[in-house]
């Protein structure tokens, strides 16, 4: 049984294909490229399944931000909170945890108790605690994003709460002669400081981290100082797509039976 899950993000579209609970394909595209290459509009947004190599899928689920955006012909939409929860449940095998998903423009903190989503916080209006903030600051520092993510020692203090104003503050610190590694660590630490109250509010024993920003090693190190156990979700960026696919697989089995 083949199930496909597609997660339509604001920056990237992620696809996961499962066959009998095994991940057989993970692929992503820039959102605009995806629409241009694979989609056409006729009453609804249509996806070229042949071009995308999805013609032999038994079930197809879409998720992502915004009800209209994820309404694709041939796909059943589910809300992204569910998709992410299922992705984490499936990939971790755990039933009690807090899931921190940090994307390019939004973050979600979700509390899962006994396999059910019982609480959540979304921070989707301000990008200061998201990947975009890191991208901007890495660009100011003229350093590769992944490289910047490695620095965690002696973080410089950055106080601005706005991702844009932070750039000026960072430049100010550069002019003060703050060492480069401290600047990088400071960027990572300021992101952590904004996430911290949201996560701490849920008081997790087990914190699972997903989304692109989970690859930031410094952030994971800082989170480890607060939570007993911090784990990065496997295939972190594809967690939503995988969750959609596994939801499709399970509900399809049930219908068949």
């Amino acid at each position: 049984m083949i199930s496909a899950g597609i997660d339509l993000g604001s920056r990237e579209v992620k696809l996961a294909v499962l066959q009998d609970d095994n991940i057989i394909r993970l692929e992503k595209w820039g959102t605009l490229s995806f629409y241009r290459e694979f989609c056409s509009y006729q009453d609804k947004l249509n996806v070229d399944l042949v071009k995308l190599n999805l013609s032999d899928s038994d079930v197809m689920i879409s998720t992502g931000y915004g009800r209209n955006n994820i309404d694709l012909a041939d796909f059943t939409p589910i809300n992204e909170l569910k998709a992410h929860t299922y992705g984490a449940l499936f990939q971790s095998g755990k039933r009690d945890f807090v899931l921190l998903d940090i994307g390019g423009q939004d973050i979600k903190v979700m509390k899962i108790q006994d396999g059910v989503l019982t609480d959540l916080v979304l921070n989707d209006k301000c990008a200061a605690s998201c990947g975009r903030y890191l991208e901007n600051m890495a660009s100011v520092l003229e350093i590769d994003l992944e490289e910047m993510g490695k620095y965690s020692r002696e973080p410089a203090v950055l106080n601005s709460t706005c991702a844009v104003f932070s750039e000026s503050e960072l430049i100010g610190r550069i002019a003060e002669g703050v060492p480069f590694p401290s600047l990088c660590a400071g960027v990572n630490h300021s992101l952590y400081k904004r996430l911290h109250p949201l996560v701490a509010g849920f008081n997790p024993n087990l914190l699972l981290v997903s989304g692109g920003v989970s690859q930031n090693k410094a952030l994971i190190k800082f989170l480890n100082e607060d939570c007993e156990t911090v784990e990065i979700v496997e295939n972190a960026q594809y967690n939503g797509a995988i969750g959609a696919a596994i939801y499709g697989a399970r509900s399809h089995e049930q219908r068949r039976d």
């Binding site: 909170l81 019982t118 509900s251 039976d257």
Partner: protein, 337 residues
């Protein structure tokens, strides 16, 4: 002094009626008023802190704004805030007649408290017993409302909430009005076909500030078929009691969480509940009960916190939606991990 007496929680109402007085549940007076927010403002202007239960503030405002001259102040079995509220109201010239429930459910002590309470109103045990038998007849109608909501599906969670909660003071101190209202509801229910909901929920905790919870739940293909504390207000086991002391001893609200949980677990089984919604009021000690409830319930629990508003905020609606959606997945769509 006029015949009205305010109550802030369930007290032996039989004694009040036997004294020829008209009890008014200040909680209902507060939450049912279009001025409910103004009542809270009155309290805050008096000096009630922001970080205090909105029910306490609302009760204060309702008592003052409606010129209540006397109240029953429960000093044990509700909460410490109520006890202090009594002191503030007394300082404003309102007469406070005390009552308490013994924390260890001692029959002897409760008997003594009810005796003293009766003496405050100069009523005899016989008079109280007459009232008890009379009021229990009307309570039985509320029990039928409850039964129809969970067993037949011809009465909604909202209707059962309103009918049961209104029995705390018998629709504002008017037992015959209570009888009429309940009769009407039961008649209407006869004409309805049973509804089956995809999810059967229990609502536990103090009655909500956010009454739109019931509509929200119904719009998500679920219904609340057990209103825990509201049901307790109707004394569902009253016909097992031989006298007023036994009746008020078998009332779960003022006693320990474990005593409450025994009944809750029974109802979870009998009503085949899928999940619980546990409502707590901000700044309330009952939020601590949540820890034990989660350990003991045996079914998923969603905890909702209310504060000042009488309607659900966007985040709570989203949580509710996500929770019910996933519960439906597990139940209907077979999506399980």
């Amino acid at each position: 002094m006029n015949k009205q007496i305010g109550i802030t929680t369930t007290v032996p109402i039989e004694v009040v009626f036997a004294a020829g007085l008209k009890p008014v549940d200040l909680n209902n007076l507060f939450i049912g008023s279009p001025d409910y927010s103004h009542y809270i403002d009155l309290a805050e202007r008096k000096g009630f802190p922001k970080s205090l239960c909105s029910w306490i503030k609302g009760i204060y405002g309702a008592a003052i704004a409606n010129h209540i001259e006397q109240i029953v102040g429960v000093v044990e079995g509700d909460c410490s805030n109520t006890a202090s509220l009594g002191a503030v109201l007394e300082s404003e010239g309102i007469k406070v007649i005390p009552f308490g429930y013994p924390h260890d459910r001692s029959k002897k002590l409760l008997g003594e408290y009810i005796r003293q309470f009766s003496q405050s109103f100069s009523v005899s045990p016989a008079q109280v017993e007459t009232q008890r038998k009379y009021l229990n007849e009307i309570r039985a109608m509320a029990h039928e409302v409850d039964r129809l909501s969970w067993q037949e599906g011809t009465i909604s969670g909202l209707e059962s909430h309103i009918a049961q909660v209104s029995l705390s003071d018998f629709y504002g101190g008017e037992p015959e009005t209570a009888r009429d209202e309940l009769t009407q509801l039961l008649e209407q229910a006869k004409e309805r076909s049973p509804r089956s909901h995809q999810l059967r929920l229990g609502y536990i905790g103090v009655p909500p500030m956010t009454v739109d919870l019931y509509e929200s739940v119904e719009s998500m293909e679920a219904d609340i078929v057990y209103n825990e504390i509201q049901r307790e207000f109707t004394f569902p086991r009253c016909f097992l009691a031989h006298n007023i002391v036994e009746q008020y001893l078998d009332y779960t609200y003022p006693y320990s969480i474990h005593f409450r949980l025994d009944e809750i677990k029974k109802q979870i089984k009998e009503r085949k509940l899928d999940a619980l919604i546990h409502y707590t009021q901000s700044f309330c000690h009952r939020a601590l009960d949540d820890i034990i409830i989660r350990q003991e319930a045996g079914i998923p629990v969603l905890t909702i916190e209310g504060d000042r508003s009488n309607s659900l905020d966007a985040r709570t609606k989203l949580r509710l939606e996500a929770f019910l959606d996933m519960m439906a997945d597990a139940g209907l769509r077979g999506v399980r991990f």
